[in-house]
Symmetry: C4
Subunit: 369 residues, 4 copies
């Protein structure tokens, strides 16, 4: 499965065998300001980097001799089956990485039978994405704008095009400070647009930020807006960006259907916890009342295994999907998902787990944490 040979400008004979190989490829082939946009974290990037390092501090406690001749990675999220517990987190501007952007991403997710959370900041419209992969399983990531009509419009759009849940991002009342974007004076390339804003922010005369007017987000967003959102849609509501047990409890009390433990890839508050470190207390608080997911720092199959062992129902990957796009569009994203799920299946087998339900906290060696 892993011994893929294909042309690469680095070394045409060298296969890309792990997610980090795709990262190096993307760094080499994307324009610097595009690479920086995807790679950067907030401020000193402590949280971005800790997302990865935290996995290295966790030791597995693997079991042997358990007949792992048949392994099954399938799971469900919000009642829908996916072929492995690895989905695609929302990231912006896929057309910067590959010409038809989110349409390729959608086709890859459909082919691999997993969930794709499309971003509000897609460079394809909700409809284009849906048309590109009509049988795909998709959720939609939502921001709340001061112009609430835009949010309402988006919700109607995604309902009409078959998206199955609303993922409300709660950690971005303001955009984090990403030093390289400031240094590069980063702007969305002129030939690209955030198509979901069509009919709304028409006059972006200079004062723009990431393809929208600066300060157009509604930073007054608060828990009562969950009720407003509920009044607009019957789709499941997932909160993305929860990092504490207190907020997890509030999420349950406000009737949402899921939580994504996330720090926005370390792009918002620098100094917050790695997501894998924040996960256990949230899982313990939620006690299974709603589903808990995680994103941030997943780079190998054993990272996925650790996240599930600590209670995540599914993980989502962000930057690696962009690397796959930059490498070869739909095919690249499929390879990313294939490699990561193959690694996850192997990690399961080598720890003695035959299916998802056998993955639990006993897999973690807590004494060495």
């Amino acid at each position: 499965m892993f011994k893929i040979k294909r042309p690469s400008l680095c070394d045409p004979e060298m296969p890309l065998v792990c997610l980090s190989d795709f990262e190096m490829y993307a760094k080499e082939h994307l324009p610097k300001s595009t690479w920086d946009y995807y790679a950067d974290g907030a401020d000193e990037c402590c949280t971005r980097d800790d997302n990865l390092m935290a996995y290295k501090r966790i030791r597995l406690h693997p079991r042997m001799l358990r007949d792992v001749s048949v392994t099954d990675m399938r799971t469900t999220i919000q009642g829908t089956e996916i072929s492995f517990p690895i989905g695609i987190a929302p990231t912006a501007f896929h057309c910067m990485a590959w010409h038809d952007g989110e349409m390729s991403t959608a086709r890859a997710a459909e082919a691999m039978k997993t969930c794709y959370i499309a971003s509000t900041y897609a460079t394809c419209s909700v409809e284009e994405i849906s048309t590109a992969a009509p049988d795909g399983f998709r959720w939609f990531q939502l921001y709340v704008y001061q112009n609430r009509k835009l949010s309402e419009h988006l919700i109607h759009q995604v309902e009409a095009h078959g998206y199955k849940a609303i993922v409300l991002t709660v950690d971005l009342p303001y955009t984090g400070k990403r030093r390289n974007d400031i240094r590069n004076n980063f702007k969305l390339p002129p030939h690209l647009k955030v198509k979901n804003f069509n009919g709304f922010f028409e006059e972006l005369n200079g004062n723009e930020e990431y393809g929208a007017p600066a300060n157009s987000l509604d930073s007054s967003i608060s828990w009562k807006d969950i009720y407003w959102l509920r009044s607009l849609t019957q789709l499941p509501i997932i909160l993305k960006g929860i990092l504490t047990k207190e907020d997890a409890e509030l999420a349950v009390e406000h009737g949402v259907q899921g939580i994504i433990v996330s720090n926005h890839g370390g792009r918002q508050l620098d100094g917050g916890p790695a997501t894998i470190d924040a996960l256990p207390e949230i899982v313990e608080t939620v006690q299974g009342r709603i589903e808990v997911y995680l994103d941030g720092g997943i780079r190998t199959g054993s990272d996925v295994l650790k996240a599930l062992a600590l209670g995540a129902k599914c993980v989502f990957i962000g930057r690696p999907v962009v690397w796959g796009l930059a490498y070869k569009g739909e095919e690249g994203v499929k390879e990313i998902l294939q490699i990561l799920s193959d690694e996850f299946r192997l990690s399961m087998a080598l720890s003695g787990c035959r299916n998802i339900s056998e993955i639990n906290r006993s897999l973690i060696q807590f004494s060495k944490l």
Copy 2:
């Protein structure tokens, strides 16, 4: 706010976006012995470096969905309102970094409506500083000399020119051993003088140290001198350099009005604690009876947030102010304060804090300390 463009010898197109950028600029543009004087710590610089690293070990516990559309950074120190809890710590010889030195610093602090603690070792006089920024809020940092007349003279001067508190430095009975100053045979440039010493140390015939006669400081200073100082002035007395709960308790008992938890930027005792590590036990001991401040190692807005969460009423920055001066005098210091307070405001918002009173220990993830 952050996308400032301006000429820089490093890269004329590259804006300075964070305090570390100013540090690099200053290192490149100041004469080596001047840079070394500001940068050096005592001995092996363990404490200087730990001041910064200690913040990286602390993880925030941020709250979401709290309506942070309006944020208010204002606070008071000793009853006076400042626009954000970031003041200017006393550092020496500002005219080495910018031609009119402390006068520029004073104007920047006045413009930004925060507190400037002028150093005894200023290269402008108390009067010049006061005249430069007549509406500024200023404290005066005091050393005690063997010639107590000098201290008395300085207190009368600062009272006459509207300074609002006396900040007594208690961690310098002798000067710490800064290896580079010895190697460089560092001396104040001949065209500069510590103007506060006018009329006192006139004959500096060779045996000088940092612009004063060697060994002129009174190393017999002890707690009873707090009563002597009180007898000279009704201004609030703040002790700068306290690092233990025992001394914090003594400070309260001796009737002072505040404490700055400080290790003199790691320039005195090498091997002492990082200030942010020393802060919690002091705050716990003081129990709000007097105000507790902190300096040392603050480089980003999230450092400020962590210090306030652990109980500091206000932080003070030292070296970054000098970097700002070296960059562009008053404008540079204003930029430093603007960048740091913008980062602090963003960190507040991203952690769910709308005003200073909402910042408390629950923001710190103690389990990961």
Copy 3:
């Protein structure tokens, strides 16, 4: 003993004085893909590297003035005496490192009077190895194949040729993901064969992995197969690859005679514990009912001492033996064993231990772990 002079391409005058010196020699002299095959770990090599680093975190608690003029390193494993508690772990393809491969390894082990665990993946046959060193003490490492006849055939062979135990590898239901082998498209050189497969996998038409057909291992292997194995042989059965107290308890309950705490040199599950970290809980669980051994990360005599102090009856070394072979065949392996056992004897003496029975947990400074 240590002051050996001999030709080396690195520096003909420079003796090889420790195991790391042999590592550098082998890295310089073996073809890259051969070196990579031996050196690589799974995925990010975290576990491979932690195997070594974990020893550096352990501090000894040495005793003085105990008359160490006579030291005795002899011990027994499975009732047979060896001259020191350091055996040779099974590693594959010795003919890649030295022309007559495992025959040289066998002669070195015989000469040094220690145990050699021959690998199923030897490039010499069970019979050739036995003939090369007729008085050697040997065990045989076994995999279970889907074609169980192969395993049965091998057991009969090793019984016929005087091997004294069966070491069943339990951590390889599937091969770990070693990135460099994929990148190098590693294959056994055409002039070499896994001779133990003679008469079985004759038609390796392209779809091979490490000298056997891909997916020929039986990944359904489970605890009940221990009973199957017991039905085939009366030799002691040792399980190699146990990392948890739970599996150690099951091993005892299933009637095996020993355990090798091993993570396959970090080549299988990446993210599992260092073997020396996994050892204590296993020793505590087993309570002496069967013998517990360890492999992984042993590079100096004090590593051996730490492993024995934490309860291992004997350690086995893998990669260093290959380095010795690459250096000078039988002589190289003998030097490796001589150097390591000399270092171990010295560490014993410098900690106050005269014989193996005096090595126990009191030698470990637990407060600093």
Copy 4:
């Protein structure tokens, strides 16, 4: 005191301001095999390096405002006053570093009024050392040889020449494995001799080690030999090389007068504790019944302060003395002692200690250990 200017081949204008500067000077000016002999530790040098790093993990808890205008570093060891609690540890072969070797060391110690522990492996005789500095305070470091007459002879010699104590090294039943000495085939230069062996090891025909016949040390040395030693002399007996509370208790029970907590500069057992980490449990066990000293890793005045705060009565420095010798003989050793004691005095003052009796465990911030 610190602003010394003198010629140096590195940079003739650059003063040597701290012990590390002398280390760099010595490394640059000594022949490589000589430098290696002094610098090397055993095996992987973990313990040698941890001796230094352990100090960096300890944080002081300094007190302010204590009138430190008068500071007094004087202390006593075995009833004799020394001007500061820093003595000279025994190290071998001073004539390799400076032409008249131990005679210069003795003169420096005499001038600085501190204790010099002369090594058995001196390249000057006991008598020469005594004659060079007739008023110096000296102890003698003793090894026990298989030929006990040699030890008896040495004891009579040192008694006759006014040495005040016998320091018995207990951590060298065999010499540690120092890789570079093996690589360099290190031998004492032909023009030098261990003069204390005169009349004993006359025929060193090739089979020598560090100036004595290989294996001439008595590795049977044990606690009962303390009684033998006591029968030979009424001088105080100090045991050098104790690292555990158990051996400290035995030392007290066997009636010795002192202990030097030492790991032989990391040159014997690699993997043992840093001396500063081993000190507290020993001090706690000894409870003041005998004096406890320490050597290993002392490089700054704050290291001395930490060792005394944790219960050492005095510290001894080894390698730094050799660096001083290599720099300028007696003058160099005096500078080393002057710099280190000046730093120690400054560290005392900056922590609020006026004299040795005020240094205690309250100076250590245990919560951060």
